[in-house]
Amino acid sequence: MPSPDSLRTWADPRRLAERARAAVGDETLQRNLNYAAEHERGERRAMEARLDWPAMREQARAIRADAVENLDELLDRLEDRVTALGGHVYRAATGGAAARYVADVCAARNAGSVVKGKSMTTEEIELNAELERRGIEVTESDLGEYIVQQRHDHPSHIRAPAIHLNARQVAELFTQLGGKPLPADSPEALLAFARRALREKFLQADVGVTGANFAVADTGTLIVVESEGNIRMATSLPRCHVVVMGIEKVVRDWRGAAHLVQVLPLAAHGQRLTPNVSFITGPARYGDDGPSELHLVLLDNGRRAVARSAYAEALNCIRCGACLAACPVYRQVGGHTYGSSYSGPIGAVITPLLAEDPDAAALADLSSLCGACREACPVDIPLDDQLVMLRRDYRAGSLARGRKGGAKTTERAIFEAWSRLWSHPSGYRATAATGGRALFRLFRSAPGPAGTRAGDAGGVRWIDRAPPPLSHWTANRDLRAQAKEPFHRRWRRSRGGQR
């Protein structure tokens, strides 16, 4: 049973198939996801061509693995350093405890208004709901998050939270908020509106709340990367800065951090550095007029348990979003389908682990196991293996039925029978050819559409429709029909060319 304080999926995992279907039918979402995926892939390829990416990747993995394997030591050192600098450190065992601490800090300062940077950990702990419960106004300052927040919607992508919306929808929202009509065909006008609206919030806010990409144990430095400048604003103008960070983000030393701060944007979109990177070491000192109060909330919420489990490498994650860009399933269904703060392949792995909810393991079905995520991952998380492990460990049911529990009896029986039959050469030879041809004759098949079966000579045919239970397969995939003469017969006939 998931505890009320652990990560909560905001959509029922058992209705995954429904949400996926809706997403596939959403034109705006599809157009934006395709554009983003192509764009990101182009930038990644260009980047990998000019750098020694395998070496950089291995170095990044080693830095992250060192941290995950030495969490307690590094967190103790980090806490000592930040405290010595005059900051406050709070170790939050659960999401609920973290959210309550942040709300307490705000209440203690009589804060009426909080401005926030984009932070998935704050989504995970449902911070905004807690602050609003206490009568504290929260404004998301990342443009995509601001749009999503004002629409009372959920973010659908790690880096582009509003990727499921088009400019017309944004114009409608801003027109409504500002009371003045704004054109959908001028993104600059929309941006100008948001800039003015958010600047007011930055200047008024009592507290700025952000996440952190990394925390350097040796120096007590918090590192936050960004493109818009909203993090610099939120961490400079209010008098108090609160950071909520997953414990796994700690890094041993500044050299490791220097490497990761580059690997992150490179993996994300081939960029050398994000437009702004803030290195925050303690509350303001030496005449710096920044916030005089700094709080660091170190969030566990199930991470320590993951670190001690077979899934520990999932904590290497630096939240770059590369696995989302690589995943053919994500590209079709988008982030909302996952119904969790974390989407894509990494989301499918960590959501069930952090949520302690066996139903959430249905997310492991959102994969074709192609392994593109693992290849794309800059810290070499074996995501494809972990998805298989989740299916096995939680016995996630089939996506179509949406049921949890063991593999269905029929499915298991079919696989067992097939396995037994093909374990013997005679069984294989008897059925491979005849079975294939029978299937071909029984079911409708058609030649491939022109241009899609390049290289096929002699009219190769495909089985694109079969009756149940095979219809579950052919609904989304085509089965290539059997060759006229199976290879093993051809081999025997010609004895491999020797007579």
């Binding site: 934006n32 554009y35 983003a36 764009h39 600098l85 300052s141 990342d142 443009l143 995509g144 749009i147 582009a160 939270p161 509003a162 990727i163 919306l165 400019a167 944004v170 993104p187 600059e188 929309l190 941006l191 800039r195 958010l198 600047r199 930055f202 200047l203 350097v216 120096t219 430095t221 493109s227 818009e228 400048g229 909203n230 610099r232 604003m233 961490t235 400079s236 103008l237 500044w254 050299r255 951090a257 220097a258 490497h259 701060v261 050398r272 550095l273 437009p275 702004n276 990177v277 803030s278 290195f279 925050i280 070491t281 509350p283 303001a284 030496y286 005449g287 710096d288 007029d289 920044g290």
Partner: protein, 174 residues
């Protein structure tokens, strides 16, 4: 610190839309900055490189100024980045609020890599500033329908003026 590093810095910055102007003397630096600022309202950090500059426009508070003049403590050749350190006489609002930013830098402060740049601040105890910002080009977003736009919250236009420090070997002896 080498001319090569400054060249690489200039090239990388240009890719990001950041104009880099080299100057040879502090007099030339003052004139160049004043020319870039033109008649616009401005605000600035307190610094020996900045103080002699006399822009034509009116001095204004950061929230009203069009132009800010700041001084970087490091430049990174590999990425076209400038590193700003906040401290006494270097208010955050000045570096953040005005949409156009002029960054002053000495060529001797340009290092090759991100690692080297961070080493300057973190490898020695006691010199770690409470806030260091690496600025790599103008602020950006693609959050509205994935259209790339610049100038969100941190500056939209960045100009770097590099004072070329004469290397020992170049000095001519009488």
């Amino acid at each position: 610190m080498s001319p090569r590093a400054v060249d690489q810095f200039t090239g990388r910055a240009a890719e990001l839309g950041v104009r880099v102007t080299p100057v040879k003397t502090s007099g030339e630096l003052s004139e160049t900055v004043a020319a870039i600022a033109a008649e616009r309202s401005w605000c600035a950090w307190t610094d020996p490189l900045v103080d002699p500059i006399r822009p034509k426009g009116a001095r204004a508070a950061p929230a009203q100024a069009d132009v800010s003049i700041v001084r970087a403590d490091v430049g990174i050749a590999e990425t076209g980045t400038v590193g700003l350190v906040h401290g006494a006489g270097r208010p955050r609002a000045v570096a953040l609020l005005p949409p156009t930013q002029i960054v002053l830098l000495e060529s001797s402060q340009v290092v090759d890599s991100v690692g080297e740049a961070l080493g300057r601040f973190f490898s020695v105890e006691g010199t770690v500033p409470s806030n260091l910002v690496f600025v790599t080009g103008p602020s950006r977003t693609a959050d509205i329908e994935l259209r790339q736009l610049t100038g969100v919250h941190s500056p939209k236009e960045i100009d770097v003026v590099i004072l070329n420090v004469v290397e020992r070997d170049d000095v001519e002896h009488d």
